[in-house]
Symmetry: D4
Subunit: 252 residues, 8 copies
Amino acid sequence: MREVLDAVAAGELSPAEAEARLAGYATTDAGRFDAARERRRGIPEAVLADGKTPDEVASMADAALETTGRVVVTRAEDAHVAAVTDGLSAEATVDHDERARTLVVEAPGFEAPTIPATVAIVTAGTSDAAAAGEAATLVRAVGATVDRVDDVGVAHLGRIVDNLETVRAADVAVVAAGREGALPTVVAGLVDTPVIGLPVSTGYGYGGEGESALASTLQSCTALSTVNIDDGFSAGAQAGLIARAVAAAREE
Amino acid sequence: MREVLDAVAAGELSPAEAEARLAGYATTDAGRFDAARERRRGIPEAVLADGKTPDEVASMADAALETTGRVVVTRAEDAHVAAVTDGLSAEATVDHDERARTLVVEAPGFEAPTIPATVAIVTAGTSDAAAAGEAATLVRAVGATVDRVDDVGVAHLGRIVDNLETVRAADVAVVAAGREGALPTVVAGLVDTPVIGLPVSTGYGYGGEGESALASTLQSCTALSTVNIDDGFSAGAQAGLIARAVAAAREE
Amino acid sequence: MREVLDAVAAGELSPAEAEARLAGYATTDAGRFDAARERRRGIPEAVLADGKTPDEVASMADAALETTGRVVVTRAEDAHVAAVTDGLSAEATVDHDERARTLVVEAPGFEAPTIPATVAIVTAGTSDAAAAGEAATLVRAVGATVDRVDDVGVAHLGRIVDNLETVRAADVAVVAAGREGALPTVVAGLVDTPVIGLPVSTGYGYGGEGESALASTLQSCTALSTVNIDDGFSAGAQAGLIARAVAAAREE
Amino acid sequence: MREVLDAVAAGELSPAEAEARLAGYATTDAGRFDAARERRRGIPEAVLADGKTPDEVASMADAALETTGRVVVTRAEDAHVAAVTDGLSAEATVDHDERARTLVVEAPGFEAPTIPATVAIVTAGTSDAAAAGEAATLVRAVGATVDRVDDVGVAHLGRIVDNLETVRAADVAVVAAGREGALPTVVAGLVDTPVIGLPVSTGYGYGGEGESALASTLQSCTALSTVNIDDGFSAGAQAGLIARAVAAAREE
Amino acid sequence: MREVLDAVAAGELSPAEAEARLAGYATTDAGRFDAARERRRGIPEAVLADGKTPDEVASMADAALETTGRVVVTRAEDAHVAAVTDGLSAEATVDHDERARTLVVEAPGFEAPTIPATVAIVTAGTSDAAAAGEAATLVRAVGATVDRVDDVGVAHLGRIVDNLETVRAADVAVVAAGREGALPTVVAGLVDTPVIGLPVSTGYGYGGEGESALASTLQSCTALSTVNIDDGFSAGAQAGLIARAVAAAREE
Amino acid sequence: MREVLDAVAAGELSPAEAEARLAGYATTDAGRFDAARERRRGIPEAVLADGKTPDEVASMADAALETTGRVVVTRAEDAHVAAVTDGLSAEATVDHDERARTLVVEAPGFEAPTIPATVAIVTAGTSDAAAAGEAATLVRAVGATVDRVDDVGVAHLGRIVDNLETVRAADVAVVAAGREGALPTVVAGLVDTPVIGLPVSTGYGYGGEGESALASTLQSCTALSTVNIDDGFSAGAQAGLIARAVAAAREE
Amino acid sequence: MREVLDAVAAGELSPAEAEARLAGYATTDAGRFDAARERRRGIPEAVLADGKTPDEVASMADAALETTGRVVVTRAEDAHVAAVTDGLSAEATVDHDERARTLVVEAPGFEAPTIPATVAIVTAGTSDAAAAGEAATLVRAVGATVDRVDDVGVAHLGRIVDNLETVRAADVAVVAAGREGALPTVVAGLVDTPVIGLPVSTGYGYGGEGESALASTLQSCTALSTVNIDDGFSAGAQAGLIARAVAAAREE
Amino acid sequence: MREVLDAVAAGELSPAEAEARLAGYATTDAGRFDAARERRRGIPEAVLADGKTPDEVASMADAALETTGRVVVTRAEDAHVAAVTDGLSAEATVDHDERARTLVVEAPGFEAPTIPATVAIVTAGTSDAAAAGEAATLVRAVGATVDRVDDVGVAHLGRIVDNLETVRAADVAVVAAGREGALPTVVAGLVDTPVIGLPVSTGYGYGGEGESALASTLQSCTALSTVNIDDGFSAGAQAGLIARAVAAAREE
């Protein structure tokens, strides 16, 4: 602890970074940032932009960059992106995926992790792209490789059967589907890769807004686990944690 | 009308049968029996035993036999079956399907219809047998041929793929499934036979009791229609009505 | 297969059309288009515009036109219609139903099917017009004849009783109703035509947004099958499949 | 008040009856009995037996008989009936309706009211008998005449059309129905008698247990009011209150 | 019938009016108008503007004015009001209640009914004014007198206790309340006037949007009947029907 | 810590009691018992018997008695009571409330707390007795005085108005009600004592099983807090914590 | 009473203030204002701006200021704030909390209460600020001291553990949390301060909009009470009532 | 294939086993058994006894034993266990876990897999034992090691904090909890092991029957995936698949 305090006194460490190292979180105007999450959990703390003002998101992003060297923002509208990227150092790396509404910024000198593991991300149709993209961003942030298999819904079984090898070759798979949500069940019945279902909020009427898709993953007659409707963040983070466990075993 | 009244006067016609012919329904102790349904709708009026006492069911069955020559009882427990069959003429035909809980009695001389049409009835697993059996009883009562394809759930796609020809050869198909209810969607994606989904009340937790299976048929990304959870009666009757329409066209 | 590849090599076939013939689907920027659906299922693959950008819809429509000669777009807003029709060949046939929000485009030379079968489409009131119109578009795409019976809700029974002959004369009927959704039950009790209920999302408060209407078709004391709330696509497609089965029998 | 206390002192009035007259309620071992309800509301306080022990029901019935001369027990099982009737004065009048599960006891000398008004009670089928019977008991307790029209469900419209005159002739109607619950809407569309819908807990699957029937009365496209599922008590009491209002006007 | 046709031939009767007299409904561009409802049911057919275009509402209003001399429009936005009143005869009577969103137009010479009966309309708070106003419009259209008792929610019991006489003096009462919806129960416990609960869609979170208020009227420990959330139309129409029954008895 | 270990070595302390003192919980065959809850939270750890076998409950009760001198068992059936009381020291104090299904056992020498604070417990009717009794047991265990006000439901407002002084005199009140659950709202509108609503699972149909009562406390137009349906434990414990806070202030 | 009337006659008292003193409520154009609530309940009557027009809110605020010297407005948009503050006496005190959307106005000379009690208000994250702020406004209006502990969600347990002393030192705590809502349970397990859970409407998909957070407070395995989703008003008012009870005891 | 047919001809292979090898499933009286699941998916096909007769379960178990050498039965009542074990070869290995209701039978000579991976299974309380036990059976069947951490619910945080090392040391964790279901969130916030939430159906009232626990895992503010309520099978199978992936990497 003394070391940290000496560094603050010497101006080598900002108070926020010091607080983050000592307490594990940094206090900002917009809230306490969980600076130690990546160390503790292996996945970066992400800022959910939805329901926060651009200023609040920018303030939390600054804290994250200062204390951990990287920030992941999810559900980011254009105004959030502008607020976060405005005034960034020119050397910072910015990765904005419009469809997935994710933004990843790395401070200059940040060394992103790379791990020897692969996650397959599968979608049933065009409408699943946003949730699947959010999952992909998280997987990449953990350092694993993403393999996409898109538009292989069960209305035409040939599409998924033709693409099974990619899923079989992966260490873990995220399978996104809306409407009746049958794809995660069908995929999990054909491979021994662990499958994480990602229900998507398509559909209307009874079981609409993703409820039917969620029910299908929870009631699946094949074994899989699931996350909430449109929760690409959790699907990607969980896949990332599994990829880390596999990679760690691979490197033992 | 005079003819009917003359026949009653002459003792050639019971008052109940006369009422049935004139008003279209017969008044019994246990309710009004819709004696003209078969003439009007093409499917026999069925007595739903569930929630009725054995005496009530027997009274309605007697009215049906007297006025239409046949009765179909659904959701029949042993006591209902005993009450209905007790004291029947020895020449009456009795067909009791324990698993489907259906009972069909035909009065002596009743000529059951036969029509040139086929209905495929498909199940995902053992637990779908009761609902599928109820549907089969109704289809047979209409006079169509039933072709069964059992235990072909999507957890092992090979099972349904190996049996598609039976479905393709039928004029209409009823596909029963519980849990996540993916089978009707998968089958409907592979054939051009009209598919009626029959959700079954298996499963527990969220979406249990058939809710997920119902949602899957209503949200299906392939086109099909559905009936309520465990409603083998409606599935079979609707398939029977379609079979009658096809058979009528075939015989034009 | 060789034939197809030769045609591609000779420039007589586009790669997309070739892929559609060989694999049964065509890969576009906006997703994989199920080009073989019409051959496999008898109903044209429709593009659901809702939730897709105009560009995505136009890209999928192009693929459909190129590979199957026709495209059906449902839930199309003006921007979708403009994107799809912009730059079409002058000889293409365009049919846009504003109320039903459907758009049908046929490439020059496309021969739309015609089958000898009739579908009655019945509505309870003005608010059912959109869903019923979507169903009508699908029925016509299959080639069957549509007979409309409009504004015959049960609040005034005379209206439906006066129009029963049209329903009786049809091979299959779609009956659309919102609020308490009693019309499909009342119609199905009076005819032997198979009835497909189409619940509509009118009504507010308990059972509003079509839930009561859906429940009424699922709980109906007369036999019928149903589709999801506002799902004119499935109602029309299922009626079309039944009409095809009847027409095929008629032509045997 | 002095009069009442003098009567207690003289042993001419029990303490319970005195409390009932002064405070409007009587305290028993099993709870406070609302002895003034009939005076205040025009309908007798009923004891809901469901969820109470036979002893509790008997204790409350005793208080009612002592303070108001009459008791109405609803949802009474055999044990409740036995406990209440056990030890009754031989001159007491007992009316037990097994199907409706209601019990009405009148103390010797009680003069039941009679009012010049009629309530029609209509049922769709056999399963509606219990709820309709409970309603009838309450109507009779208020003193109005009950006219029953049974088994006229909408699956066969002729049954209700043949019996409309009874409903038109009544001052108010209670219409009971389960499943899809279309009957109250159909009846209310044909008469100008005020209709109270009484949804019944038949049906299974989606909208089962009376939910669909309740939704239909709440969403009805014709004007009517409703009570909760199986709540024959409220339907009968409300019809009774309306009958009293009409009778009072008739006697002005 | 001949008389009607002669009048059409002589130009004394429009075809729409003639159709209305003979068939009981008039066919307009925007649907069939139930012209006989007032004769059959005693309450005027109302046009629900919500979900219809101004043109559709105006077209149905014209049909109503022509065939019945009056029209009631509910849930009318300004555009609906403008479309209906635009081009009306100068002698027509127009009554627009902005808060209740109702519009009543009477053709010149129309004689509005007046009946000797009174309906109390009670509200718990300011937010109940719209639904209560819609009910009041319907009651007045039937010809009964409306007595308002406003802002007497149960949070301050003195407010309702001070105003009970108005409710007691009425023949029937409509009691509107949102949030926890306790007022209808409290009022019904204090008077012998029949009470119709009118739940209002205030409140948020669990039981919000009027669900708790509806549940309270359905579960009420005092006897009353209810209508759907915000359904001032049904509450007013049902109160009107009861008022008519009372008035008819009063005039016998 | 050394002290504790010495005592174990000397046989003066059982290992379970030692573990409880050191770790704050005791390990039994049936689970870990939270022995420090009373010290930490001020309310005794209660054993919920529902869903546990008599043996499991007895094992946990033994651990509680040994480590804290007292045990509170809730939802106790006769078999649970027998298992717990069997083999108890003759000097132990046993308090079993059959209606509330609670059992309190105090080891010989245990000194129950007494605090200078009062909790009013109010019920609407007989059916609320069990939940209210459970709450009373918890309040008494904390050491506060319980004042009961029973059977004062809103159907007869006089009953609650006559008993308000008891509520006003208390430091905090628990108000239990089922059906429409209006009582907590009405009481809270009349006093400045903090009110904790306790919804009870009476009622059937829509809003039944206590849902309407819970919604009423959550939507109440007067300020109060609530606990879950039938959760007398939480209502009593929370009232006890508030009583302790008041008593502590009183004793400052 | 005479005194009041004399003062009105003398022009010393406005009629509204007179009505408020005599009847306990004041009649305004926008409704009856419960002027006696503060005297009766100890918490000021608040005007819920949501769903009311600025004019209605201003009218009720005027009545409150005139009769009680203070007004609290909740869910106030800018237009409401403008309408209320427009034309206020320059000496009036105005306190507008934008994030909490509350507005407190005190008339010149109003003496706000101060009581010797403290309420801890705890939040899990940034999104809980609005509801927590509304609670804080109510607590302050009652006169108690507010201690805030912000951004201590359970994803990083260190944050709450580091801040427990503030909660322990308070007389009562409000704990706000959205998403899975675990924080109130975790806090209540660690302190003996009474905890009021305040579920917040964050989260999407299943259990979203605060449903999961509400369920967690109602199902909590530690004892606490709760208010509805986002109901900072009730949480703060209830905490205020408890603080008053504690302060009163402290001052005895 | 020839080899297999030769073996059948030679009597060395039963027809069932031959069918299983060739088609991947075996046809029994009670359904088609998915004999190739273990090969295809890595987890043994389990027979869900719930809803099946003892005979049906025994028939499917025989098929499993004959074709795969092992059977796992879940939700097994005593009658199911008796039917399956009756007539087993004496050398068969039988493992029946009464609390978990699982039964594992291995044919003589079956070599159960063992893999170098560990799964932590954590429970909040006694009521979670059944679901957790089912998960443990599946994990062991896959060959991984199970480490149990029991009774560490969040009401006493010390219990889980004291046992974190076991979770950290595992490759994947299953965390079971009922009521408010906070434990999976709290555990996942403290470790980087992938956590699978297993919600348990404890609790009553709102959010009861496991709904609140499920919602908590789906809404968790830390990243995890979940299975359905009480679905120990899926939790264990998914953990087993992840363990296999890790073990495979470890053995590369």
